[in-house]
Subunit: 418 residues, 2 copies
């Protein structure tokens, strides 16, 4: 009666895909996550920029695993492991496993810069997305009733650090929020004071894309009013300003950090061997050396492809999840573990309404065509049919009426008063 | 060039209606609220029971006052007033006024019971609605991994205190959330352990409705699995139980309080004369005695109709707001203030899917017909066309698929790290 138990830590794209891959297999699956929802991270910047509500990009894990029948869920934080006894330790008790899959994802990395850690907003989870939304809206409210012009300029300057897809998408959406929506809310506002600055340490945006697409993204952002500063390395942040490594100072009282990401702390917590970006070193089979019953997938896994580490992207996470599910089934059937190979489906990033860049194998799209492709891919991938309708209504509303009705400053929802 | 300034404290139904009534009048209107949104309170219990997201029942004040042209908004808390100098004091500075309209609404009243104030959830604002949602979902997660049966019973017992419309609607929606949705999430759950208890101190539910409707509501709730306890007065609450005044004890670790409401603290803060429920005493013209330039409207106003205080209801708030806008225009034109008369449009309350009670003058509706009427009235009154579509999608989803996809436990959104 007792079937092998697979414990999967993390209900993101990697963990959830792995659980789904084990549907119908003769195992009991236990998904563990510190949130009760799975998050569609590619649209998180739209929560931050008041386009979407949390309910539209997140879905309860229990609902997603309902069709699996052999899966259950535990809301808990991973606190350690005993690999000899095959136990995963959590703040809700020890979980025994036959196979352990680590898929706890990644977090913002401030590279030890305390001023960044203190003053900058990350954009990695739903709480951070809501905090950024609150901050942007609060700054506009404050500036409306601030007499001092210098102070107003600082309140109304928003710096996005990092020219990867998240930074580019956030800067574009923020510029549109301000220019298309908030300017109607603040009729007396001097728009000359408002700045959206995108800071990138390298010499171009979207370094992982082909050069023509990088330039297209930059031009598109600048047309939308975003100031793009290249070769700009942030050295210090205060509550009202940013200092770059070349001594240049920018008066900005909101800093959104998308320039550094590292693996979740679970790898360190479990004393596993870490590589670049604190990712757990794995064999080509995605197993941990010396612990063949422990697998690592998604952003936290340091899997390599021809010596280069695989990027922290959803397709990697999903393919790794699917592979490990297949491997576990193979092991149960007496076969051995085989190596993982990543198939690259392409990359894309949007730059607000009517513009995106997409690179799908040999196909490169920019501008409106790229945007249509982006829209299509994201709409069919949004997690449920209901979300799809609601997201479509919100996008259409935004697109047709230049309006974002969700710009609500929500205070901290109190924890239950125990 | 300097026009008379009307300061309206509170952007609920009373304050917003008053601001709208002053559209085109030769005054500058300043709306002050501690939140940047107007809340459609009749559907707050649907946020608490995972049917709707905040963005569907709240709308930015700035968006709502955009068409008014002569109105602006300040995000601030009222801290005092100097009636001689005509100043309203806030935590964002002193605001001079020619006319002051107080419309800061109401809050939960625990009648000085410290155990209630500490352990019970109010259901008066968006933060409380989200906190209740979090609590309900957390209790189910906890109970799933709790071995002790008594402890499980306590975790899964939800007490709603107060048999008015809010309590009835909350109990009905909560019972449906559990029986139609969560039971599918928790396949191993012993549903015999789950209890939704509605406690009312009086001898019947919905005391403001006609007796046949009260009985219909009770039967409808009981059919949905809600235990209705009448003549049950709560004396003490701990983190795991409720003690009634007759000594009876109920093991329940979630208590939602809808049984007491009093006016917001602004009346006391301004040292105005207070009546029942701490409501500010006003003349029949809604002016404060001795301060003819200060008006009070909505829940915070102690207006009377044939010696009975007017109920804290949206129609009262809106009619008072409209009246005061008209009176201010009259005063500016050299006319005097006239008395306010309330026209009662009727009352209604819903008891989950397919059932509601409505009393509209001589017309009394129950069951499915009452529900259709409730649906119609609320859908046309939801604040924007976009919300109407999104709310309709969510309601249809809930109705057709017995599913509430928004059951997300959102942690406290951090305040911006200043």
């Amino acid at each position: 009666m007792s079937r092998p138990r697979v414990v999967i830590a993390g209900a993101g794209f990697a963990g959830l895909t792995c659980a789904r891959g084990l549907k119908g297999a003769p195992v009991d699956v236990l998904l563990v996550d510190r949130n009760n929802y799975h998050l569609f991270t590619p649209l998180l910047y739209q929560v931050a920029s008041s386009v979407l509500d949390p309910g539209e990009i997140a879905r309860p894990v229990r609902q997603l695993i309902r069709p699996l029948r052999n899966a259950d869920f535990l809301l808990a934080n991973v606190t350690g492991a005993d690999f000899e006894k095959r136990l995963l330790l959590t703040d809700h008790g020890a979980l025994s496993y036959d196979y352990l899959v680590l898929a706890t994802g990644s977090q913002s990395d401030y590279f030890g810069n305390a001023s960044l850690a203190r003053h900058a907003f990350g954009l990695k989870n739903l709480d951070e997305g809501l905090a950024v939304r609150n901050r942007i809206l609060m700054r506009f409210e404050e500036s409306r009733w601030t007499e001092d012009r210098e102070r107003r300029r600082s309140l109304l300057t928003f710096a996005v650090v990092g020219g990867g897809p998240t930074g580019v998408e956030m800067a574009g959406a923020l510029s549109e929020l301000i220019n298309l929506v908030l300017r109607k809310d603040y009729r007396d506002l001097d728009l000359d004071l408002v700045r959206v600055v995108l800071l990138e340490a390298a010499g171009s945006l979207l370094g992982t894309f082909a050069p023509p697409l990088r330039d297209a993204a930059r031009m598109s952002l600048e047309k939308k009013g975003v100031e793009v500063l290249l070769k700009a390395r942030v050295e210090d942040v205060t509550s009202g300003s940013i200092r770059l490594s070349d001594g240049h100072e920018i008066l900005a009282s909101t800093v959104i950090w998308t320039a550094g990401v590292r693996a979740s702390d679970v790898g360190a917590t479990l004393s596993l061997q870490l590589g670049k970006q604190a990712r757990i070193q794995v064999l080509p089979t995605l197993q941990v050396p010396e612990h063949p019953d422990v697998f690592v997938i998604g952003d936290i896994a340091g899997a390599v492809d021809r010596d280069a580490p695989l990027p922290m992207l959803i397709p990697v996470a999903m393919q790794e999840g699917r592979k490990v599910a297949a491997t576990i089934k193979d092991l149960l059937s007496g076969y051995g573990a085989t190596n993982f190979w990543f198939k690259d489906p392409g990359i894309m990033a949007t730059i607000g309404r009517n513009s995106a860049v997409a690179e799908l194998g040999p196909v490169r799209l920019t501008g409106f065509l790229g945007w249509l492709m982006w829209l299509f891919v994201h709409l069919i991938n949004v997690i449920s049919f209901r979300s799809r309708i609601v997201v479509l209504v919100n996008w259409a509303w935004d697109y047709l009426f230049y309006d974002r009705p969700i710009r609500l400053i929500l205070r901290a929802a109190e924890e239950p008063p125990d």
